[in-house]
Amino acid sequence: MKKFPWLTFAIIAASITIHLLQLDGFFQWSRGEGFSLDQFWMLASSHLAHWSTSHLIWNALMFAMLGSLIEVRSRKAMVRALILSVLLIIPAVAYFMPEVTAYRGLSGTASALFVLLACMIWKQQAGPLMKIIAVLAITSLLGKCAYELIYENAAFAQLGETIIACPQAHLAGALAGLLSFRVSGRRQSVHERIIIPASQGA
């Protein structure tokens, strides 16, 4: 029986609630904060806050699509990707983007899920078309980030005059997705090596 992607929808519901209650400012990450024990929660909460309704809608749609596809196949992989995203994205923004004073949005974690899904498709799908789609996905994400890094502008999208694109956050998310896939792969290999010989020995 397929799992219901409740984690995905819980995260989206939380984001929508925060936005409707206008608490985005409270949950965002602000420079100078978030790296002490009592503020560590900001590293996670900042992903649930958004700059505007359109920002939320776009990110929520992507997250819903990607999160649902991953969670029904492997909730553990999704949780790993989210945890790694929380650990990597804000520190990357803080270090590589000194001009940024605040961060909000699900797009970094969505990038992690994007790469994770592409890797899963590459490994698990036999058809050439799907493999091409997987390669295209990762290439597109890297290309978008490169464009934004070079031209300091949101490629294809504009959030607003004081909000800038954050390719560093997307790259950190992509790395989180890749690491999550690698960890998933090793655990699966270990599981097969342990279980199969045991069953063979029975």
């Binding site: 400012g25 965002q28 420079r31 958004h50 700059w51 920002h55 776009w58 990110n59 749609l61 992507m62 699509m65 990607l66 596809l69 923004v93 983007m97 001009e99 940024v100 004073t101 605040a102 961060y103 909000r104 949005g105 797009s107 970094g108 969505a110 994007f114 899904l117 592409a118 498709i121 799908q125 058809g127 078309l129 799907m130 789609i133 997987a134 295209l136 996905a137 597109s140 994400l141 978008k144 934004e148 949101a154 490629a155 294809f156 999208a157 504009q158 959030l159 607003g160 005059e161 004081t162 909000i163 800038i164 694109a165 954050c166 390719p167 956050a169 997307h170």
Partner: protein, 727 residues
């Protein structure tokens, strides 16, 4: 038939013809004199004819972080063979506070004192009635646009030397500050004097924000400009009489890389301190794009008779033309000309296409100035164009010289404006109603700007348009958290435009930290902003004393505007006189009086407040000049042949420190403490960058969405295929 019978008739005929010739000559001379312009207007008052000349006219300007201190020294010469009274009329520089009026009497400088206007006039007139009059001088602000200076007596063939000092806060437009020394004026229609003497103007600009340019739109080829380093520039001009028929305009540019606040303080020993706080939008905000929606512009061009003076209509036409040509294709515009009645050019809002812009330019060129001024019908017509779904901007180009009784009507019309309308006013020339134009803009959340005929109207039009497009922050509110700041002036400006800082003046009581916490809330390009910063407010700061008078001037200005809006000045007169006398500033209700010696001041029981204040001001200004001299000398060492730099350094270290060569006559009675003050070190401007809400949070773009859909679709397809196979 005998000759004697015809002689009386011939004599009377000759007499009649002679009288006609004389009267014609007088009329012709007067007619030409009406239209002549000069460096102020100097006449010999109280008698028929009379010629005085300005033998020398030297202007020294020091601009220290946007506050200009202008020192004007003039020498008048009475070319007549009789004693005359000199009447010198000159226009009020924008936002100027006259801080000093001195006359040289018997070779000694006598510093004036500020007294209530009526009393000052009575004192002055009492000297005129004396058989052997002493030497009084009187400087009055006649109205919002004119100063008058009277000196009596000036003996036959004698010279009279005077000095006038005024302070100004320069306004920035798109990072350019413009200083105007007004020379073009026709404020007095009586006989003009010849301007035959030497005129020189020297300007030194010092800024904590880097200077990136300096130019003179009015005298491009006449100024020598030297850029000593990025914090100090200098310009110098010498001119002859025939070049003195237009304003001298100098502009300089500063660029603050990041949005932030700067503060300048003055804290005398025995009273609370004063500060000037500047909030500036930085270069990083200049990158942000304009909004996607266009705007509707309704241009109101004043074509009344008063606009024919000083080429005001010509300047207005050129500026409007530049403005219209800079509109974006998403914008729409209408052009309304008015005198006693408005006339719309298109009777609809036209898109800002090239064709419509050309037609607008053609209509502008056909306008001529005539008739009276009624602004209310024009403004009412402009409101009719406003649509609720688009932002509307009404741009008024006028000298504001409409009928006095219309003012109240206008103010109430402005208060009933539609919500999405802002009114921007552009005053042209020197003879304008600045208070009305400023109030109209302020009451509607707009801006007022003032153009001189020597200004670069294209740059000004572009700068103005940028402001209209980009109010960087709205609903700006600056509050002081520690409770030691009070009497704040200028905090009612709630819109920050790129290139046009917000300036606030106030008083403070220093605390043990010698700092205060300032909170700024605003809406910055659609996002709410709330930030606190600490700014220094020292317990002792003898530099920048001009801020004290600027604060007082702004306070007087606000009181006058409020009183005029209420319809009567009676309730604020006492406070205005108190501020004028206490801070030695000329207002419409206080004047400068100069008397021959200290005994005369004692006789009239006039306190020498200004003399003491001037002593402190000059010490601070000398310290600034010393610093500027050091910068200049340092840069000079890099010029000339190699090896000379080291020699210059040795020579410079051996030279004595320069002192102010002019020693004013100070009151003889002992004064407490201040007389022995050393020259204060110039206090540095202190600033802090504001961390703007530069948020990050990248968007998911359409390409990635498509690919995600592709992955989703592909996975669903393969799942369905597997099920079908399993089935």
């Amino acid at each position: 038939m005998s000759r004697p019978i015809h002689e009386p008739q011939t004599a009377s005929a000759f007499g009649f013809v002679g009288l006609v010739i004389i009267l014609t000559a007088i009329a012709a001379f007067t007619l030409f004199a009406r239209t002549a312009s000069a460096a102020g207007l100097l006449v010999a008052d109280g008698g028929f004819g009379g010629r005085l000349e300005i033998k020398e006219h030297n202007v020294d300007v020091v601009i220290n972080n946007g506050v200009a201190v202008t020192t004007v020294e003039q020498i008048f010469v009475n070319t007549e063979n009789r004693t005359v009274e000199a009447l010198y009329t000159f226009p009020v520089p924008q936002s100027a506070s006259v801080a000093d009026f001195s006359m040289w009497i018997n070779g000694q400088e006598m510093i004036g004192e500020v007294v209530e206007k009526q009393r000052a006039r009575e004192i002055y007139n009492s000297y005129k009635r004396q058989a052997r009059p002493l030497d009084p001088g009187l400087l009055e602000q006649v109205d919002y646009k004119t100063f008058e200076l009277r000196i009596y007596p000036i003996m036959a063939k004698a010279e009279q030397r005077i000095r006038i000092v005024y302070y100004q806060q320069l306004d920035f437009e798109n990072d350019w500050a413009t200083y105007v020394y007004p020379l073009a004026t026709t404020t007095n229609t009586r006989m003009n004097s010849n301007v035959t003497g030497r005129f020189s103007l020297r300007m030194q600009v010092k800024s904590e924000i880097p200077l990136t340019g300096m130019t003179s739109p009015s005298h491009t080829n006449d100024f020598a400009i030297v850029k000593h380093d990025q914090y100090m520039h200098e310009a110098s001009l010498e001119a002859t009489g025939n070049q003195l028929n237009r304003d001298v305009v100098l502009s300089f540019q500063t660029q603050r890389p990041r949005t932030g606040m700067n503060i300048i303080t003055s804290k005398p020993a025995d009273e609370d301190g004063y500060f000037m706080l500047t909030l500036t939008a930085g270069q990083e905000l200049a990158k942000f794009k304009e909004g996607s929606k266009g705007r509707d512009y309704i241009f109101l061009l004043d074509i009344s008779g008063s606009m024919a003076q000083q080429s005001k209509l010509n300047l207005s036409r050129n500026t409007l033309d530049s403005f219209i040509r800079s509109l974006d294709e998403k914008d729409r515009f209408e052009l309304i000309t008015f005198n006693i009645q408005p006339a719309a050019a298109f009777r609809e809002l036209r898109p800002a296409s090239e064709e419509n812009k050309e037609e607008g330019a053609r209509i502008l060129q056909t306008q001529t100035a005539r008739g009276g001024t009624r602004l209310t019908p024009a403004m009412t017509m402009a409101y009719q164009y406003v649509q609720s779904d688009r932002e509307a901007v009404i741009v008024l180009m006028s000298d504001g010289m409409n009928e006095t009784q219309e003012r109240q009507e206008l103010i109430s019309l402005l208060s009933s404006k539609p919500a999405n309308v802002r009114v921007f006013t552009i005053g042209v020339g020197n003879n304008i109603n600045r208070p009305l134009l400023s109030q109209m803009a302020q009451n509607t959340g707009g801006l007022a700007a003032f153009l001189s005929d020597g200004d670069d109207f294209r740059r000004q039009a572009e700068a103005f348009r940028r402001k209209l497009i980009m109010p960087v922050a709205t609903d700006v509110k600056i509050t002081f958290e520690d409770g030691q700041v009070y009497d704040v002036e200028g905090a009612d400006v709630t819109t920050l435009y790129h290139g046009a800082p917000i300036r606030i003046y106030g008083r403070y009581k220093p605390n043990h930290n010698e700092s205060t916490s300032v909170r700024i809330t605003a809406n910055i390009l659609g996002h709410s902003y709330d930030q606190k910063v600490n700014l220094p407010m020292p317990a002792n700061d003898m530099g920048n004393p001009e801020i004290e008078r600027m604060w007082a001037w702004h306070r007087v200005d606000r009181l006058l505007k409020q009183a005029d809006a209420a319809g009567s000045r009676q309730s604020v007169m006492e406070e205005i006189v108190r501020l004028g006398e206490g801070y030695s500033i000329v207002t419409e209700h206080t004047s400068f009086i100069v008397l021959e010696n200290d005994q005369e001041y004692q006789r009239w029981n006039l306190k020498r407040r200004n003399a003491l204040r001037v002593q402190r001001d000059r010490a601070a200004q000398q310290a600034v000049r010393n610093e500027l001299d050091n910068i200049r000398n340092a840069s000079l060492q890099n010029l000339g042949p190699e090896g000379a730099a080291k020699q210059s350094e040795q020579l410079a270290s051996a030279q004595p420190v320069q002192t102010n060569p002019t020693t004013p006559s100070l009151p003889q009675q002992p004064q407490p403490q201040q007389r022995e003050q050393p020259a204060p070190a110039p206090s540095n401007n202190r600033g802090v960058d504001l961390p703007l809400p530069r948020g990050a949070g990248g968007a998911m773009n359409p390409a990635l969405v498509l690919i995600s859909l592709g992955m989703t679709g592909g996975l669903l397809y393969t799942s369905i295929r597997k099920k079908n196979r399993a089935a």
